[in-house]
């Protein structure tokens, strides 16, 4: 059986959160700002949805910000990700400006998917975001394929699949894990293990305890890591070592990232299936922003300053989106097929094009 790397320790509690600390204070503050931007962006999305401004089906990742920010911090710009129905945090962390994401939420031409995708289909291929997937598990085999392309071309890049605990019950997950390990593909399988699949708790959908989910990797002989997903530095450190492992040809890494969903499954979810006190307690003890703030010894004044700055950016994104242009209805037909030919012998390295 492959070694199960314990990088870093996963035991909950403050002790394990005294992280290794290779990130500078300055960088940590930037990442704090990014996590707060994700939080405020998603709170704004909830607000605008409830106000009847936003169409569609929305899922926020409030409580899980350190996973998105921590993983993407450890990636190189050429690395690619595939996201899920809970896509805003990953997309922001991979570098897409909130203006383009908010405009997408409003279905505008200026959106990161030009109004064709919506909340569950945020794309930014130029920034290495191969797209968010509304089919649970749907992106995983494609991440294996992207990694295969990198491997065949001997490019030092990794492909990262984000997915939830619910997704580990799909055939797509198991086939992708198996193939990636068999072919030693440079994939990071990032399990955002929040213990819920919609309303179904882990105990009703997982045959293993949430802490034991690394065993799914062991079944494939894959290196697994246990990661505290509320600790930004822990996520960064773990992802860095996972990336080193994958990019050096040793094969994929499975990261069991323990995290918590502070909100409903979707915006508007009355959460009849769980106790209000559970959520309150999680917010009090497991908030990744509060934990990082304490770690940084951030004063109230500094926080207020960052928050005001972030709020201005989020409010700006709403104004940007509202001022955006609506697509022509008939443009719905515009991208069904690509024109032209891939041309025999062409050395064009990528089939992806910059956005028009």
């Amino acid at each position: 059986m492959a070694p199960v790397a314990q990088v870093p320790a996963t035991d909950s509690g403050e002790k394990s959160r005294a992280s290794a600390g290779t990130l500078s204070d300055k960088r940590l503050r930037e990442l704090f700002r990014e996590m707060l931007l994700i939080r405020r962006f998603e709170e704004k999305v909830e607000e605008r949805f409830r106000a009847g401004d936003l169409p569609g089906f929305l899922h926020v990742a409030i409580g899980q910000e350190a996973v998105a920010s921590g993983v993407c911090e450890a990636l190189e710009p050429d690395d690619v990700i595939a996201s899920t129905h809970r896509a805003h945090a990953h997309t922001i962390a991979k570098g897409t400006p909130v203006n383009a994401i908010m405009a997408e939420m409003y279905g505008k031409n200026e959106g990161c998917s030009q109004g064709y995708g919506g909340s569950m289909h945020l794309y930014d291929v130029a920034r290495g975001n191969m797209g968010a997937n509304a089919v649970v598990g749907g992106g995983l085999p494609q991440i294996a394929g992207a990694a295969l392309a990198f491997k065949l071309r001997k490019e030092p890049r990794v492909a990262v699949a984000f997915f939830g605990d619910g997704a580990t019950n799909t055939g797509a997950f198991h086939e992708s894990m198996n193939l990636a390990q068999l072919w030693k593909l440079p994939v990071l399988f990032v399990l955002e293990n929040n213990g819920w699949a919609e309303s179904t708790p882990a105990t009703q959908q997982l045959p293993l305890a949430v802490e034991e989910m690394g065993q799914r990797a062991a079944a494939y002989g894959m290196t697994a890591m246990e990661v505290d997903g509320q600790d930004l530095e822990a996520v960064v450190e773990a992802t860095r070592s996972a990336r080193d492992h994958a990019v050096s040809g040793l094969g994929p890494v499975f990261m069991n990232v323990r995290t918590y969903r502070f909100t409903g499954h979707y915006v508007g979810d009355p959460q009849v299936y769980r106790d209000k006190s559970e959520v309150r307690q999680l917010r009090e003890t497991q908030d990744p922003l509060e934990l990082l703030r304490a770690r940084l010894g951030m004063t109230g004044e500094e926080f207020e300053r960052i928050d005001a700055d972030v709020m201005a950016e989020v409010d700006g994104s709403v104004a940007f989106a509202q001022a955006g242009t609506d697509p022509d209805p008939q443009d719905a037909l515009k991208w069904v097929y690509a024109e032209g030919s891939m041309e025999h012998g062409s050395k064009e390295p990528l089939s992806t094009e910059p956005r028009a």
């Binding site: 998917s113 291929v125 025999h344």
Partner: protein
């Protein structure tokens, strides 16, 4: 002009494309040393190596999904699904992923993936190894669907499919692999969306795909004995469809039979009939006749299988029915 079998023609297109283009690789079950369950890729692993001719685990979701991901990242993957019956397992990746990425991303993504598969009756495998499911994919915007019936066509169409910037589901028919036919010295790419008129005629148009192209040509020969002039047209690409050529043919002949091996109900013939009645309504002298398999999971016993799937005689009977109308 050299003569190749349909099987050799597929292999020739794959090999010639791979020789000059590092972006192309293949994956599928048993395609390496064994050459695939139909022997199509025999010898290719020796020439191209196991990095480019990749045996996969039995993972139809991952085979197609990894093909999509590699295609998005600049490769031109050709994946093989051993039997088209097993496309059912890949369905999610084909329908929700390959077909939709381009639109959902607002045009940021191309998926130049070719999914080769094969199927068809005539050898009594029972109900799970002989279906013809091509019409399902015609229903999906974003996919192209090709079904080649001759060595020349299969070679030229496969070449175009590999280089098409969209996902193409490429159907081969099992019983056609051994048939021989002349092919041009050099590969001549056949554009997707162009029908082929195999036989010109004046009394009735038979629009046929796959094995039924050959059955229809046999039926046409027999009809000629009775003085009936049959035009046989193979759309070759089912999506996008060359409706212009088909409509022009029926406007000329005023009668139409559709013929495929798949079951009639919900089959591609229904789409053809709709296209023809709309484009040639004022010209039609008889209702469009549809030929296809019986509406039943294919039974094993050869006599039952033979009863279920259509043959030249069924096409001929349909031709006579259209002509029986004044």
């Amino acid at each position: 002009m050299p003569e190749l079998t349909y099987r050799e023609a597929v292999r020739d297109a794959l090999s010639q494309a791979m020789r000059g283009d590092d972006r192309i690789f293949m994956m599928g079950e048993d395609i390496a040393e064994m050459g695939g369950s139909m022997g199509v890729t025999t010898g290719m692993v020796a020439e191209f190596g196991s990095e480019r001719i990749r045996n996969t685990p039995i993972s139809e979701i991952a085979i197609v999904g990894a093909g999509i991901g590699a295609a998005i990242q600049g490769m031109l993957p050709v994946v093989e699904i051993m039997y088209e019956d097993f496309l059912t397992i890949s369905m999610e990746q084909l329908v929700n992923q390959a077909a939709k990425h381009r639109t959902m991303s607002g045009g940021q993504i191309k998926v130049p993936l070719t999914v080769r598969t094969q199927g068809g009756a005539g050898w009594s495998p029972g109900a799970q190894h002989a279906q013809q499911l091509e019409s399902w994919f015609v229903h999906v915007p974003g996919l192209k669907v090709v079904f080649a019936s001759t060595p020349e066509d299969v070679r030229g169409l496969l070449w175009s499919s590999i280089y098409d910037p969209n996902p193409v589901i490429f159907f081969e028919h099992r019983t056609l692999y051994p048939i021989k036919g002349e092919v041009p010295d050099e590969i001549v790419p056949i554009p997707l969306g162009k029908a082929r008129v195999h036989l010109e005629g004046t009394d009735v148009t038979v629009i046929a795909t796959g094995r039924l192209v050959h059955e229809s040509l046999r039926a046409a020969e027999e009809a000629e004995q009775d003085g009936i002039s049959v035009e046989v047209v193979d759309p070759r690409t089912l999506s996008p469809l060359d409706s212009e050529t088909l409509i022009a043919s029926v406007r000329k002949t005023t009668r139409c039979v559709t013929a495929h091996e798949a079951v009639v109900q919900g089959g591609f013939g229904a789409e053809l009939a709709a296209v023809i009645q709309h484009g040639a309504f004022d010209y039609l002298d008889a209702p469009i006749e549809r030929v296809g398999a019986q509406f039943a999971p294919l039974a094993f016993a050869p006599v039952m299988e033979n009863f279920c799937v259509p043959h030249a005689a069924n096409v001929l009977a349909a031709i006579h029915r259209t002509l029986a109308r004044a």
